[in-house]
């Protein structure tokens, strides 16, 4: 099983290491490719956290292979691939869900029970398990549980409750991966030289930065020059 948390760790170590090596010297704005290394080393975890991670890892998968297969099917119904972005399974969301229910055990029964509910519903309607249903049949079931109730009947409430939680976990799992972050367009938490709100965005609102303030607190050309001050505390360099 893919150790997703380790991959994330490696990403963080990689990006930070790359920054100290290159940014300070060159002021390079390019994104730096860092090879993923499966390692715990250098990622500030305290002893009890390392022990916690190891304990979870030693448990092996929480879900059965049958459950994981259904999770994968549901994941890709929640977030299928688009022409520009990978699907939830491409982003390893099932592995995330398997991890998170071990990390936060209060998710275990609602998710397991919800998976059973899904198959129970498909058996009732179509006399087969969800994964054997046609895409159309699967969507008919989801259409009954993916939206707030508009009728008095409570027959789908348990399914709705499950799907709401499941959808939340899929969104977290997806948008915390490179695939999801690229799809969203989030561009922070990587080595960069932040230079305020882009001029094009400011212009849309009829705003601009005060010329007198520019470069006063953030000056990328002299950021790495050691500061010296005059006797009144004014920055000289």
């Amino acid at each position: 099983m893919i150790n997703r948390r380790d991959s994330l760790k490696a990403l963080l170590i990689g990006s930070v290491g790359a920054t100290t090596l290159t940014l300070g010297v060159t002021g390079c704005k390019e994104e730096i490719e860092v090879p993923l290394v499966e390692t715990n080393k250098g990622y500030g975890r305290i002893t009890s956290e390392i022990a916690h991670d190891e304990r979870l890892e030693a448990q092996g998968p929480f879900f059965t292979s049958v459950e994981l297969s259904l999770i994968a099917t549901l994941c890709d119904l929640v977030l299928p691939a688009t022409p520009t972005a990978g699907s939830a399974t491409a982003a390893e969301v099932p592995a995330f869900i398997d991890f998170i229910v071990k990390d936060l055990p209060y998710h275990q029964i609602p998710i397991q029970g919800g998976l059973m509910w899904i198959n129970g519903e498909s058996n009732k309607r179509y006399n087969k398990i969800f994964e054997d249903c046609s895409s159309n049949e699967q969507k008919q079931i989801l259409d009954d549980i993916a939206y707030p109730s508009t009728e008095k009947t409570q027959q789908f409430d348990a399914g709705r409750k499950f799907f709401n939680k499941f959808r939340g976990l899929v969104l977290t799992g997806y948008y915390t991966t490179k695939i999801g972050i690229d799809d969203l367009g989030y561009v922070g938490n990587r080595p960069n030289l932040w230079d305020g709100v882009p001029p094009s965005v400011l212009a849309k609102h009829g705003l601009d930065y005060d010329e007198n303030m520019k470069g006063r607190y953030i000056n990328h050309d002299s950021r790495d020059t050691k500061a010296t001050w005059d006797e009144n505390g004014n920055l000289l360099t």
Binding site: L12, S15, V16, T19, T20, L23, G24, G44, L77, V78, L79, P80, T82, A85, L142, A146, Y147, P148, R167, G168, L171, T172, Y175, T176, G180, I181, D183, L184, G185, Y186, V187, G188, N189, R190, P191, N192, L193, W194, G196, V197, P198, S200, V201, K204, Y217, I218, N219, S222, R223, D224, T225, K226, A227, L235
Partner: protein, 377 residues
Amino acid sequence: MIPARISILTKRINDERGVCFYCGQCNRSCNAYADFSSGSCLIFPAMKSGQIDLFTDCMVKNISTNEEGLATGVSYIDKKDMLEYQMKAKVVVLGASACSSARILLNSKSAQHPNGLGNSSDHVGRYLHDSTGAGLSGFIPALMDRDIYNEDGTGALHVYSPWWGDNKKLNFARGYHIEMWGGLGMPSYGFGKIATDMNKYIGEQVGGYGDKLRNDVKRFYGSTIGIAGRGESIALYDNRCEIDPNTVDKYGIPVLRFNYKWSNQEVNQAKHMVDTFEEIVHNMGGFVIGDKPDKSINYGLLAPGQIIHEVGTTRMGNDPATSVTNKYQQLHDAKNVFVVDAGVFTSQADKNCTWTILALSMRASEYIVDQLKKQNL
């Protein structure tokens, strides 16, 4: 309204500390030492003097005293081997945080200090007070469908509004500041969970999956804001922590129990906060997310301790009958014991205690050095 000032270096100031590279992960501790942290800015430089031995993962149990009632050292538990050790000292300086320093003093009973060390006045643990806190979240439709760009800047930043109100016209003393945040932040656990819920405010379909869901996540990304107030509370004699005689922690050390009730001052302040925040959200053309906290829950006033600005438990003062330390944070009852955390504050501003702790600690440190030179300690 001003951007909050933060202690993050955007320019190199020496060879030991680096410059912010805008990862925005300050709360995980800064690899470049561009943030202010007691480790990188105080402890590491101090250790270079070679005169410091740092004991980590150790928990002080109590301060030992002699027949004259002066401190002779501390007893501590090493968490790694779970054994108790003694350490001798000429001077003991407590900086365990307001409640924990009070706990150590109260657990340091002796024939000379039957009520706990420094506690002849029965003031150790009293006047405990934390900042008030209440807040709201808002959804701002004008922030939907935005251009996506890097809004992180340096980390740890929120917008700050200092207190502006005139207390004469209000039903509570003192005031609070407002912290506001939002933006195109890094997705983390819980991201997107409520994205589709925002549809209810703009009359569109809540829920769904597939392309609609993906579209909702992007449309609503960065359209919610948080607003929180942090205010000054009133120090009260009866709000206190004391030793719970029936309970010890895993190190065998008696724990604290708390008696703390908010007065109407703080409750009225919280009401003023949430009314103000609601007005701000509405004036931005937005909606308060969820229910606005009402009277039944004290207008969302958080429990004491949740803002982690506890102060007051070892208050300083000139009168040994009504205070625990003098103005140099030196115990009235034992001149070689000092308290350098926020326990010595008799009141607090609405803002964080840290800078005042540092300023007072510097003064206390200079006094300790001076007194040692004069052989008064």
